[in-house]
Symmetry: C2
Subunit: 336 residues, 2 copies
């Protein structure tokens, strides 16, 4: 369990441990013969540099704190995957924390990460409240928000153009012939507010009546969408398409529709948002709006690296384009 240190190999090599350190770090001021000898020796002795000691003197841990509400979530785990890969490719490791559903835990974990001396924090916020929640810490360490649009708050973030996503989605529905489109979702966060706005904008341009079915006091999940949709379907269906603000909600809607024998897309077209992996499953094949998760993740770590390594001050808002993924839950309406 006792690991070999610089001092050990220095003794074995008959040099000072400063020399060994220099040999490993590729310092120019060292003889190429001794360098090779030392490197070979390190290899033989199984020396690996102790990062915590190194961090101590370098005042840099090469650590990025990643906080997500729940890694057990297709959207976030995909983000996390690309973030970790990209971070490690640039010499950083990821310290992972679930922030859970409440703001208190979210604050706790970023405080914890600060104590760990992470070089930066990448955070997928629980909601719009996160900004205020952790503001006391965001000036102590480079921080970038991921996937939540903060509008013009003085804080770096990368997010999809949520407004544009719903905009192109409802336009697509319009082109398919739909004139009565129901927007299904709430507006608890800026991101979701923007999604609603994209829908509203498209409706205005297209001369469509805006129709909302909100669910202000619940979070986005399949079961929630399902319960809500059962409510919805108990009333007359005087629309031909539903735009669900979330794939999870859309899938819940599908479930309710199936039970009531409401044919999708025969009777009702359905479109979701996010393009989580589940949407591409057989029998689901949900038409949706893709958030470019991979790009979002790598750009977020790029942005964070820039802050860390170049000390870049200020904030930047990176907005990525969403794209329409046509699958099989939307159908063209026959014009009369």
């Amino acid at each position: 369990m006792k690991s070999v240190t610089l001092k050990d190999v220095a003794k074995a090599a008959g040099v000072s441990y400063a020399t060994v350190s220099r040999a490993l770090s590729g310092s120019p001021q060292i003889g190429s013969d001794t360098r090779e000898r030392i490197i070979k020796l390190c290899d033989e002795m199984g020396y690996t540099t102790n990062y915590v000691a190194r961090s101590m003197v370098m005042k840099k841990t090469d650590l990025i704190g990643l906080v997500v509400p729940s890694i057990d979530n297709q959207f976030m785990s995909e983000l996390a995957y690309y973030a970790e890969m990209s971070a490690r490719a640039h010499g950083y490791n990821i310290m992972l924390c679930n922030s859970g559903p409440d703001l208190k835990q979210e604050k706790t974990v970023v405080k914890l990460l600060l104590g760990r001396q992470v070089d930066g924090i990448l955070i997928v916020p629980q909601s719009s409240k996160t900004y205020e929640n952790i503001r006391a810490y965001t000036d102590q360490v480079p921080t970038v928000f991921l996937s939540e649009n903060l509008r013009d708050q003085p804080q770096s973030y990368v997010a999809a153009d949520n407004s544009r996503g719903t905009y192109i989605g409802t336009k697509y529905l319009y082109e398919l012939g739909h004139r009565d489109i129901l927007y299904f979702g709430r507006r608890h966060s800026t991101t979701h507010q923007l999604r609603a706005e994209g829908y509203m904008k498209a409706c205005q341009e297209l001369g469509l009546k805006q129709r909302f079915f909100n669910s202000e006091f619940s979070h986005s999940s399949i079961n929630n969408g399902y319960q809500l949709a059962k409510d919805l379907f108990s009333k007359p269906i005087d629309y031909s398409a539903i735009f669900a603000s979330t794939d999870s909600n859309a899938i819940g809607i599908m479930k309710a529709a199936d039970e009531l024998h409401i044919d999708i897309p025969g009777r009702l077209s359905l479109i979701g948002f996010d393009n989580i992996p589940s949407t591409s499953l057989p029998r689901l094949e949900l038409t949706t709006i893709e958030q470019p998760k991979r790009d979002m993740a790598v750009q977020a770590v790029d942005m964070l690296r820039d802050k860390i390594e170049n000390g870049t001050q200020g904030y930047v808002h990176q907005i990525l384009m969403p794209t329409l993924i046509k699958r099989s839950t939307c159908r063209a309406l026959n014009k009369i």
Copy 2:
């Protein structure tokens, strides 16, 4: 960006920094009045203890390295969720690494984790080869394998009783009246070998003919299952049920069956393994064998903590019971 240290609050309090340290750590040898004064002061000054400095002297980082082939995977992200929650509840943080598909990267990340001085490693192996692959490091740091059955190798692990899973699954199929059950899957790892064995054992006891459809040179994914199933279905279907060794494969099979208008469960019953979240989706509703992912994760960190904190030597094999999740892809056969 400069954080406040022990020395800073010591100066402010007019005591030595050793006293501050003791006040925070709850040392008994300190006046309760000064303790309160110092704690209050720390709070005001926003002091947080520097964990890397602390780790340095304590020779303990309170860090657990978690390596998974890909966090972007429902099974592993669920494991990771519970592992992180449980670890943090006990004062540990998680350093996350994706090991990708190849052994080289897997070895690289555990080496990296060693350099980070993690107290222990929790690893979801890529395959059975992982044991050999990282054996050089597993005696340098407490390690427990998660989800892969290593049989009687001298290495701690926690896994589901895979053999029993397929055993109860085929027995269930038998009770439903099925007499011709095809086992769909490969045996590239011990875990999958055990699954095949459970099926074989049940067949023997029940007097059933063992029928295999193997796919030795592909990994388990929906698309793979789909391609393979298309092959499979091009030949006569002289069985009434399929046991897929994996939910992903089962879903791929569903897709192929749908395309060919092979009714599930009308014509063919189908059962999977793992109970990944996707299986519970509407329109899928796959009958499957649940691996107790939560228990597996928390028991794995418990086991690791025991090794770390109590220096427990030796190895323990923790086998957890899988359970049958009845959904809607299996139907009872009318006895003739």
